[in-house]
């Protein structure tokens, strides 16, 4: 990766298909804000200097009625309404509501817990196995019932979220314990995860690379290190990674004993772990070997 996706002065790079609209709105709103602020500021400084107390200057008690401010207030309201009706609400509708058909998309469940992201892929059959809260424990973070025929080929990873590029992705968000917030800054994706409710979101990445999932809602002591790795790769690399996961998790034939993939330990175990333990950058090589190639390809124009 040649270019750092994150910057200090403005938004991080955008690799989602919907994000450009959001970025444009943020830009326009900031220009609007800046114009207003500079306008007020210049006027304020003029007043503060010109109307200061000094010899030979007296206050003007003749009450004037200014029309301009009323027009400005009206204009502000008009601009706000336009932004709302023509920009913000349509984007929101597209981003949060207009789901792609499930057959064209990769459907994934994300089960959040203190303090990890469990990613549940439906596997080859495209169907999620049955999950229950009774079955959730240290070795079975999503509570999958491996006796269910649909569950035989399900892949579960911890903090490793891989998706193919240029393909719609539907993520069904659930939380096991408290409220989390599934945030991927580079994707302009953010959604609270409310325990007891399954909330679907959708997005599509248009660029490969290795990024991160952040938790944006205070969820306890480990909130700050609830970091997941988010990898966008070519369809081939994704398939290869998936095959590796299958071999690792289901390969032995004894599906019920399958362990989730690498990544950090389940939450309870590392609740007291020192902060430095998982401060790895996305490029630190904490990830599966399969996506090393994907990264290189991603940077080709």
């Amino acid at each position: 990766m040649t270019q750092n996706p994150y910057s200090l002065g403005w938004l991080p790079i955008n690799i989602s298909t919907h994000g450009a609209d959001i970025d444009r709105l943020i830009f326009v709103v900031h220009i609007f804000m800046l114009a207003l602020f500079v306008g007020w500021g210049v006027y304020l400084i003029y007043c503060l200097i010109n109307f200061r107390e000094r010899a030979g200057h007296e206050s003007d008690l003749h009450v004037k009625h200014f029309k301009l401010p009323t027009y400005i207030e009206g204009a502000i309201l008009l601009i706000e309404v336009c932004l709302l009706v023509f920009v913000s609400s349509p984007i929101w509708g597209r981003v949060k509501n207009e789901f792609p058909p499930e057959k064209d998309a990769l459907v994934v469940r994300v089960v959040a817990e203190q303090f990890a992201w469990n990613i549940h892929y439906p596997g080859k059959d495209g169907k999620f196995g049955k999950t229950t809260s009774e079955k959730m424990d240290g070795t079975n973070p999503v509570g999958i019932d491996r006796d269910d025929p649909d569950a035989k080929d399900d892949i579960i990873t911890i903090n490793q979220f891989h998706i193919p590029v240029n393909k719609p992705v539907i993520v069904r968000l659930v939380s096991k314990d408290v409220i989390h917030d599934f945030s991927i800054p580079v994707m302009r994706v953010k959604q609270d995860i409310i325990p007891g409710i399954e909330i679907p979101i959708h997005f599509e990445a248009n660029q490969t690379g290795e990024f991160e999932i952040a938790c944006a809602q205070l969820c306890g002591l480990g909130h700050y290190r609830m970091r997941g790795s988010f990898v966008v790769e070519t369809p081939e690399a994704f398939a290869a990674w998936m095959a590796d996961q299958e071999k690792e998790q289901l390969g032995g034939g004894d599906a019920t004993a399958a362990q989730p993939a690498e990544g950090s330990q389940p939450a309870a175990a590392n609740a007291q772990a020192p902060a430095a333990a998982d401060t790895a950058k996305p490029t630190d090589g904490q990830t599966a070997p399969a996506d090393a190639g994907a990264k290189k390809e991603g940077n080709q124009p």
Binding site: S59, Q114, D177, V178, I194, K281
Partner: protein, 590 residues
């Protein structure tokens, strides 16, 4: 008005006001200064207690800023003193960080700013500004202070609990807050105290403003501060009870094992949670923000009132558009009840609902713009006298503008997707509350200091305080916007865990140094406030600044009954005659 002679059974002769003063002067020290029913004493008690809490809340943040700027490095000196449990090896633990964060918010809002602006300024100034001799219910007034005090003590004691204070943020979202340590229950009990105190206080304020105003003081002759306090009191009265109910429900969840906010099938740290389930975590958020959004206007309206008073006194010209300002404030207060869900855009809200709350949010920005415009136009054609309070009041304008403007991208749902729950939000509301409201409160403290104490503060120290504070405070909050744009989530103990957090980390160092500088810049303020009590130049004049409202008719400092003779009001506030001299409300001559 002849009503003063009514209901006066015991003393058949003499002036009842003189009798009351005489009676008061014979009271014991305890009844005079501790369990006093005099609104001025209670106001000062409120203000002093609240300022102490503000310092505590600020102090917590100064500790946090070390961890934020230098994550994982031991806190010099203090780290060792605070003990191994919360500072292992002198390094702040995540537990401690979350406690400091939650308590900083709680203390600043519920125990600092609101008690100072509503309890302090409201109690002291409102009765005088309407020409009353005391609040309508003096004993209730005393009680609301002591209930607030108890609430504060409960909150502070929660730090001593095993496991420390509440750590689920000042918003206390369940289920996290329900499964949190015992201190959360203390937090809830403390909140019930604070809410009760606010309710009693607001009943008192409303009755005083409406029933006890003197002859001639009709509603459109109210000083802006009185209007602000009156609207604030209505907001507190009607918005706080739902949070009180929610607090009781959360307490039940924690203590009686109910599941109001807990859905079925929760698994915490790999263990099933044995509760009946069936509750709804979002219910808390709705009830909480039903209060907490009007609460924003509870913070800002008294500040607007104070700024209006100071601007009008120091520009030496009438307020531009008094009625517009008043109507805007009323509209603001009313609309603040229907915007709460814009705090919850990311909870899975549909398009219709989010559009509704987006629209109300855009609508509520207009009265704020009008208020700002009124103040800006008041400056036009003025003869501005730059006293220390005026400096703070003027600084309020651009700071409040930044706070308001940055609310815009947060209020639009689409841009909120990128900015929600990031540092951008923190920057936004701190601009409203810290360099906004708190600057206005500082202005108020300076402006009425000579009236309350009978001594003048040191102008030079005041100016040092102002210039130091305004530079430092922008150094803290301006970088937050860039941090938020970079996508850094709020409430992170150590943001360098994330690559995007690491990139923005240098900003944290800047903010921390600015925060510590701000702390140093408050030293001249504190020194000035305390030492001027003895060393300050004596103020003998009733009206040192040339104010037009009723508090400037009282002797300095005001005696027990405020006015030796019940005053009368003859005109609107902020009037000047053709010779550019003030025409106070209480003066008969034209």
């Amino acid at each position: 008005m002849s009503h003063d002679s009514h209901g006066h059974g015991g003393h058949g002769h003499g002036n009842p006001l003189a009798d009351a003063m005489e009676h008061y002067s014979h009271l014991s020290f305890w009844r005079k200064y501790v369990f006093s029913t005099d609104h001025k004493v209670i106001g000062i008690q409120y203000a002093v207690t609240a300022m102490c809490f503000l310092l505590v809340g600020f102090g917590l943040m100064l500790l946090m800023r070390w961890q934020l700027a230098f994550p994982g490095e031991p806190l010099p000196v203090i780290g060792k003193l605070l003990g191994e449990a919360l500072f292992p090896g002198g390094v702040m633990s995540p537990e401690m960080y979350n406690q400091l964060g939650a308590m900083h918010g709680t203390i600043m809002i519920f125990m600092g700013v609101v008690p100072l602006s509503v309890g302090g300024f409201g109690n002291y100034l409102l009765p005088i500004q309407v020409g009353a001799h005391d609040m309508a219910f003096p004993k209730l007034n005393m009680m609301s202070y002591w209930v607030y005090f108890c609430g504060g003590i409960v909150m502070m004691l929660s730090f001593l609990m095993p496991g420390g204070a509440a750590a689920s943020g000042w918003t206390s979202y369940p289920p996290l807050s329900v499964i949190a340590s015992n201190a959360q229950s203390w937090w809830l009990v403390g909140m019930v105290f604070l809410i009760t105190s606010s309710l009693l206080g607001s009943v008192n304020t409303i009755v005083t403003a409406i029933q006890l105003r003197v002859k001639g003081l009709n509603f459109f002759r109210f000083p802006v501060l009185v209007w602000a306090q009156l609207i604030t009191a209505f907001l507190l009265l009607l918005a706080f009870p739902p949070l009180e109910a929610a607090g009781v429900l959360q307490l039940m969840d924690r203590v009686a094992g109910t599941s109001f906010f807990l859905p079925s099938g929760l698994v915490v740290s790999g263990e099933q949670l044995h509760v009946s389930g069936g509750g709804n975590p979002l219910l808390w958020q709705h009830l909480f923000w039903f209060l907490a959004h009007p609460e924003v206007y509870v913070l800002i309206l008294p500040a607007v009132g104070i700024v209006a008073e100071i601007l009008c006194t120091n520009t030496r010209k009438p307020l531009y558009g008094y009625k517009t300002l008043v109507y805007s404030m009323i509209f603001l207060g009313f609309t603040s009840f229907i915007v709460w869900a814009h705090h919850m855009f990311m909870t899975g809200m549909g398009t219709t609902l989010s559009s509704f709350f987006q629209a109300t949010t855009m609508i509520i920005s207009i009265p704020s713009v009008i208020i700002l415009t009124t103040f800006l136009l008041t400056l036009y054609g003025a003869s501005i006298r730059y006293t220390v309070p005026m400096l703070f009041a003027v600084a309020f304008l651009p700071m409040f503008a930044i706070g308001g403007l940055t609310g815009l991208p947060l209020g639009l749902t689409a841009s909120d997707i990128a900015l929600h729950d990031t540092y951008y939000v923190i920057g936004h509301f701190h601009y409203v509350v810290a360099p906004g409201t708190l600057f206005a409160l500082m202005a108020g403290v300076y402006h009425w200091y000579p009236k309350v104490t009978g001594r003048m503060f040191n102008q030079t120290l005041g100016k040092i305080h102002f210039w130091g504070s305004i530079i430092a405070i922008n150094g803290i909050f301006m970088p937050m916007f860039f941090m938020g744009l970079a996508g850094v989530s709020r409430r992170l103990y150590d943001q360098t865990t994330y690559a995007h957090g690491k990139v923005a980390q240098p900003l944290n160092v800047v903010m921390s140094y600015a925060a510590w500088s701000l702390a140093i810049m408050q030293l001249p303020f504190l020194y000035n406030l305390i030492v001027s009590l003895w060393k300050g130049e004596k103020v003998a004049a009733e009206n040192p600044w040339g104010g037009t409202t009723l508090e400037w008719a009282t002797p300095t400092p005001p005696p027990h009954v405020n006015f030796p003779a019940t005053p009368e009001v003859f005109r609107e506030p902020y009037q000047y005659n053709s010779a550019r001299q003030i025409m106070p409300q209480f003066s008969k001559e034209n």
